[in-house]
Symmetry: C2
């Protein structure tokens, strides 16, 4: 039975981290909300009063009777099933820990253009966003990249993967984080990635994996846009 992914149509958003894992694995899945009447199905699970374990927000995944929300929890569930996580328990938790740190970076990247609230428009918080972007570009991006660089360099199985000698969902998620930041802050990221050559190489290598390459060229990959998490507002790029 196909996995069912539920996420807002029209943006990559947090759903993209799950899509990349499903695509890399060649898994059978339906991107429900992009199908006819899919939004009704999404809202029924999100707001239905009979749902015993309702997700707080999209993305969420349905796998038969299992209904799982929170991007990192979805990937923790999918990891072994898609062969995108190590078998060893400690290594699996390490992959998850990296994923949670990527999630923190993603949240901060979002909050740069929505520092006051996700419930207000960007245009209503532009001066605040300008201030937030400066700190994010100058302090936070380098700090996150330095950590990824360090753990790539220290991976005893080689610096081509974050964990072990095979691709995990954390590699795919780091690709997406870097891809999104490079879209949002082309100027700032060009400089930042010079100091993070291993992370830059991982990003390039993931983009060339056959299934990911085919996916990125397909219409299943929603283009970056200014409704998503990673938004290109030139004034925020310094």
């Amino acid at each position: 039975m196909a996995y069912e992914l539920f996420y807002w149509p029209g943006i990559q958003g947090r759903g993209e981290f799950v899509r990349l894992a499903l695509e890399e694995a060649g898994a059978d899945y339906v991107d429900v909300a992009r199908k006819p009447r899919g939004m009704d199905a999404l809202m029924a699970l999100l707001e239905g009063e009979q749902i015993a374990r309702p997700p707080f927000a999209p993305p969420f995944l349905k796998d038969g009777d299992a209904l799982i929300g929170q991007t990192a929890a979805i990937l923790f569930y999918l990891g072994p099933r898609l062969r995108l996580a190590p078998r060893d328990e400690a290594a699996r938790l390490w992959v998850h820990q990296i994923q949670l740190t990527i999630a923190d970076a993603v949240g901060e990247a979002h909050d740069v253009h929505h520092p006051i609230s996700g419930g207000l428009y960007y245009e209503d918080q532009k001066p605040e966003a300008l201030r937030a972007a400066k700190v994010f570009r100058e302090e936070r991006i380098p700090k996150f990249l330095a950590w990824f660089e360090a753990i790539l360099a220290r991976n005893p199985k080689g610096d081509r993967h974050l964990v072990g000698a095979r691709t995990t969902y954390a590699d795919l998620s780091l690709f997406q984080l870097i891809d999104g930041l490079a879209y949002a802050f082309p100027h700032g990221m060009k400089a930042a990635l010079k100091k993070a050559p291993l992370a830059a190489a991982l990003h390039a290598a993931v983009a060339e994996r056959p299934r990911i390459r085919a996916y990125l060229a397909s219409d299943r990959r929603i283009p970056f846009n200014e409704s998503g998490i990673f938004r290109h507002y030139p004034e925020l790029d310094g």
Copy 2:
């Protein structure tokens, strides 16, 4: 061998979610950074170039050879070991999913007083914090509480616990979230909790659990203060 918890001394912060689990279980643990030269030990693990799997930030836990960062990952690891998580895999992931949602709420609560950046002082972002606090109080607190209320009401084993019929670390974490929000926004939370009686009852019940009660009365419980995540700035309470 005792668990070693590493967290900034002087604030409850994210370390408190781990402390509450260790305390409820009566586990043998050391709150390392609060001991003499503990900060040196913390920094050595955080910044040591020989650490194969370095945490990105405190809190982190050392259990023999295992070194685990990210609050939710630490609790996922500790859950079964402290008998604060169900045995069933799906239920354990559900507890984790709730924990991740609590973590999102905690992050938003922090960002209310630091909307522009965690790297600047509150005093440098007060007008922005006033705007952020209004949306947080009026929209976000009610939305999070409504979700906790719904999952308590729908727990087939009764509305005294978030998951199943026994206390999990998610119950302890929800206690801490509500405790912190009630400290930070006494006015706003009094109104909000009236619409979330099950969550309010859970908060009260956790505070009365014998080990938690003893812990809260001890000097191991750092008082809330204006350096932590939950800060009482009356101007932000509406």
